[in-house]
Amino acid sequence: MNAGACYHCGEAVPSGAPIRAALAGVERSFCCSGCRAAAEWLHQGGFGDYYTLRSATAARVETAADFSDWDGPGFARLYLREVDGLSECDLSIGNLRCAACAWLIDRVLTRMPGVAGVSVDPTTTHARLRFDAAQTPLSRIAAQLAALGYTPQIVPDPADAAAARRQSLKRVAVAGIGAMQAMMFTEALYWGEGELDLGTRDFFRLLALLVATPVVFYSGAPFLRGAWRELRLHQPGMDLLVALAVMLAYAASVLETVRGGAVVYFDAAVMFVFLLAAARHVEAVARARAGERLRLIASAGQAHAMRLDASGRPTPVALAELQPGERIRVAVGEAAPVDGVLENAPAQVDESLLSGEATAQTRHPGELVLAGSIALDVPLTLCVRAVGSSTRLGWLRARIGNGLHGSGHAAAPGRRAAAAFTLAMLALALLTGLYWSATDPQRALPAVLAVLAAACPCAFALALPTSLAAAHSMLARHGVIVTDPRALAQAATVDRIVVDKTGTLTEGRPRLAATELLDAGRTQDEVLAIAAALERDQRHPLAHAFRGFDRGDVVTAARIEPGFGVAGTLHGCEWRLGRGDHDAPAGADDLVLAAGKHAVARFRLVDRVRDEAAAAVRGWQRFARVEIHSGDASAAVEAVARPLGIVAHARRTPQQKRAAIAELRAQGHRVMMIGDGLNDAESLALADVGVAMGGGAALAHCHAGVLLLRDDLRLVQLLVDCARRTRRIARQNLAWSVGYHLAIVPLAVSGTMAPWLAALGMAASSLLVTLNALRLQRAPAPQPLPRLVEAPA
């Protein structure tokens, strides 16, 4: 029945009266006039390149939300900042899918009058906008974004993470350049040993001191501060050890320089700082990207509410200012920011954020609407009951957050081992010093420094973090965000996989499976077209099932009948489409079309199994036993599980899912849970590895250790493969650094190794470890994932 995919969003194109347009001389079909308008606008504006640049299809252009609130003074006070006489604000842009989207937004907005600058980060979907509010109101910019199919949400000024990143980059640069210089000067000292006259030697030493000082005290400041904090808290850790090694080498060198002693060790000091600062920077950047994206998902749409004053006029206020008993308004398409009692009219809400339940729910006046519910048909007027952490949403979030932190504070074993190792080496250096002072005081300091340089845990300390950073960054490139480092370590040893059905193995969006005619006088095409026309402007997931059958019939007096479905007048006849009544009973997934009281057809809707699910599950079965735990009826679960050959458990409550996971873990299995929705959120937090699908409820994102930004089950295989390679490479690195230290330390203790040689060995060893870890980032993904690039027209 389908006439192909929509050129703009890739959804099925209705077969009846096609919506077409000629773009750059080529005829294209669209699913709806919104998508056509967006595509035409893009081509006329000279943005047609977007279609060749993009790597994922756009979002369907839905009816635009109402942004008129965005121009009020209260809103400006909450979100806008004055910068150079212009207004600046931050937006989180939903549906932004690839760098081409970011390019498009940049181009389109910069061309609007009054927009001075926009910077879009495609990885975090975060945009910073600078504009002249007098020339172009914010609402018009937001409406422009909405017209392109994006869903802009204003967010408060993010904590100045960018400034911290810049600072860290500068520290690395100073350390790198300073280290090169200091090494150059000290290298000259080594090679010229015995040949340089004393004046030249001291000149070079002063130069090395000059360039090493900013490296140690500017670039090394985070380590020194960290060491000071650890000392104050009596919790010795890596920072203390690094700082001690650096300061010992530096102080000894300064002392030697001043008193004209035998050897200086500035190179060792600067190398420590440079290598560690660089590794930490890389790790922090990878971590920050994942973190920022999460923060935006979690905070979007929740920072303000539209409070109604006595006369019913809405003014935006910060959530913190809102008091229970006050009344607020929630526009269509927005999420309720608080728990509140509905006052105005029966309304359809989408609670998928809270329950994972995809079908629209009906709320009547006097009923409670939970924070996070999205208003679907009419604006809501709510009497505030609970705000922030006292809402159900806040309670769940806090609860799951606690679960994560309860078990999450154990330090990475590698790091702890490294700390113990370093403490042992410091003791060894002390003993070496004591021994040589007693026997041959001349050789005491060189031997101690050689031991410190040889024993510097650089390679050891880098072994794990660099592997993790490289793995995180590779995974993030493919749309897998790891928020909990333990999840990556544990993914390598998973032997049980528990999956949810709806929205995980299936698309979570019902499709039409069968049409049963109850009135012999109608044809199948006819009833489908009528149903499609009735559902045309509906947003709830069931409406999607009919999108491909629209013939463009005109419906008048279309309306939603709460608790039943939709109704409207078509061809002079009153039609109703919705849940069956006693005349024509229908199952949970069925819809009945009726002309007046007379049932005409019954539609069976099913949720389709994802295209890649079978292949993905077969892949998982090579290393794990796969089980479905679903809340659905057993027939529906069996239908999905049998073809895939999976153990199926139907009608599971969230408590039963948690119990099942806890039992598997108690049996000693390593459990991975793949799911979405808040129903699964606690299971995701409980499993060794929780994997949340990106298309699911935003909340689950915050608590799963791993997020899939694309709804592609093959990413799980990528995650497991990457976790195993990470473990292998981390082990290689640890083995190398331990072996190297074991070989080199006896030489240093015996005083037969010069400190410069030990320092060089340390640097080479660190470099080797880092390069080995970077293989994780460079190596191609073990299972190539197709990129959805459209061929240029």
């Binding site: 000279g46 943005f47 390149d49 640049l53 760098a99 081409a100 970011a102 390019w103 940049d106 181009r107 061309r111 910077s119 879009v120 980060d121 495609p122 990885t123 960018a162 990143r165 810049r166 980059l169 500068k170 640069a173 100073v174 350049i177 210089q181 030249t200 000149f203 130069l207 000059l210 360039v211």
Partner: protein
């Protein structure tokens, strides 16, 4: 070896200039977004069209 007394300060000066330039680049935001600007050269003369329109 007296040449060192000239060359070494010169090299340090160059290092200082390089660092200064790098700090300036970082502060002006050139390292903030390393992904999106990669798309700028792929764009087909959109700026020229724009100029003609204007």
């Amino acid at each position: 070896m007296n040449i060192l007394l000239v060359l070494v300060p010169v090299s340090l000066l160059l290092v200082g200039l390089a660092l200064f330039a790098f700090f300036w680049a970082v502060d002006s935001g050139q390292f903030d977004d390393l992904d999106r600007p990669g798309f700028d050269p792929l764009e087909d003369d959109a700026e020229h069209d724009h100029d003609r329109d204007a």
